[in-house]
């Protein structure tokens, strides 16, 4: 038995039992949440269609290889797989775009390959930086953002480098 197989059933039961203890109708909360998951999915499907079309064309034309080759020397020195270049470029700009590029990498290289895992960790440890900045400062009426963008990009860059490092650390 794999220990990580314990996580999901345990988490599901723990949350259900805790909720019941709090006299919460866990089943209707579950279905209500699932409905919300469906609306999230509905919102990202159009973006996935648009971006996976473009990404798949980009790869088939050889442009992806050219772009990755351009960044390869620097990235290889840092231990980051050059295949993830398009993911790193799109991540701060578009969440659904990054999801599309990362899932393309996972399907092409395999979800358990080095590239596939690094792509997944990159996606999990960074956010859509420019979107977040625009939403927060836009609604707060801020025009001078001062050092926010450089600091946020420093976090993204660290996240990308750390993703490759962490995958090598945990998966050899």
């Amino acid at each position: 038995m794999n220990l990580s197989s314990l996580v999901i059933p345990l988490l599901l039961s723990a949350v259900a039992v805790y909720g019941m203890g709090r006299r919460v109708d866990v089943y209707s909360a579950l279905t209500h949440g699932a409905e919300e998951g469906l609306t999230v999915l509905l919102r990202i499907i159009p973006a996935l269609v648009g971006l996976l079309t473009a990404v798949s064309m980009f790869r088939a034309s050889g442009a992806m290889e050219w772009l990755s080759g351009l960044c390869a020397p620097v990235l290889e020195a840092l231990g980051v797989p050059p295949e993830t270049t398009p993911l790193m470029l799109i991540r701060p700009v578009s969440g659904s775009g990054a999801l599309a590029v990362a899932s393309d990498l996972m399907m092409t290289h395999g979800p358990d390959s080095y590239v596939g895992r690094v792509a997944a960790v990159m996606l999990g440890s960074t956010e859509t930086t420019f979107y977040t900045i625009a939403v927060y400062f836009g609604s707060a009426g801020i025009h001078r953002t001062r050092h926010t963008i450089p600091a946020a990009l420093a976090a993204d860059l660290t996240g990308f480098l750390a993703s490759a490092l962490a995958v090598r650390l945990f998966f050899g």
Partner: protein
């Protein structure tokens, strides 16, 4: 608009590269395959995504996120001392952080905006050090269970989609720390210059 430029650039570059390398047949097929694979992917990740959204909703309803928010207050008081003098801002910020941790992006954003608006009052359109810090915290991911990514991995045929969790946590911690330290450092440099 940014995505419009990205998309147009990718499609036009594909055409140019396709013509130059003689891969144009492959490019044409790839366009259709890409669109189809988007739907395949969406269908195969739908179940897991819905299940986790449901579990997150149970956590929210039974007050687990509220408890998490209370646990964060001492740390946030140290990180954003001025903002946290106002109890309502403190409540919004800690709820924002805990929603982010649980991966409730839809709940986190309005809470964060509420906090940002309170923190921006009377500053004349210039972000304060603490507001910059709050936004940087939100541009860095601090998700405990990246459910969407796990569902993509499962859709791509992975047997243990959650085995990347330790790597995601380590990478997130490093990235958040780098963002916060850069923000603190640049705030200090900016003050000295003025």
């Amino acid at each position: 608009m940014a995505m419009a430029w990205v998309w147009t650039g990718m499609v036009v570059l594909s055409l140019v590269f396709g013509l130059l390398t003689g891969n144009l047949d492959a490019v044409a097929n790839a366009a259709l395959d890409g669109a189809r694979s988007a739907i395949d992917l969406s269908v195969s990740m739908a179940g897991i995504l819905c299940l986790w959204s449901g579990v997150m909703e149970i956590m929210r309803v039974c007050g687990l996120s509220g408890g998490l928010a209370r646990a964060f207050r001492p740390i946030l008081r140290r990180l954003l001392p001025n903002a946290c003098r106002d109890p309502e801002t403190l409540a919004a910020v800690s709820a924002n952080v805990s929603a982010n941790l649980l991966g409730l992006g839809n709940a986190a954003t309005p809470l964060g905006i509420q906090a940002a608006r309170r923190m921006a009052r009377g500053c004349g359109g210039t972000a304060s050090d603490e507001l910059c810090l709050l936004v940087v915290l939100n541009t860095a991911s601090i998700q405990l269970l990246p459910a969407t990514i796990a569902s993509v991995r499962a859709a791509a045929g992975c047997k243990t989609p959650f085995d990347i969790l330790p790597a995601v946590w380590l990478s997130s911690v490093l990235s958040v720390a780098a963002g916060l330290m850069t923000a603190q450092l640049l705030a200090r440099v900016g003050r000295r210059r003025r």
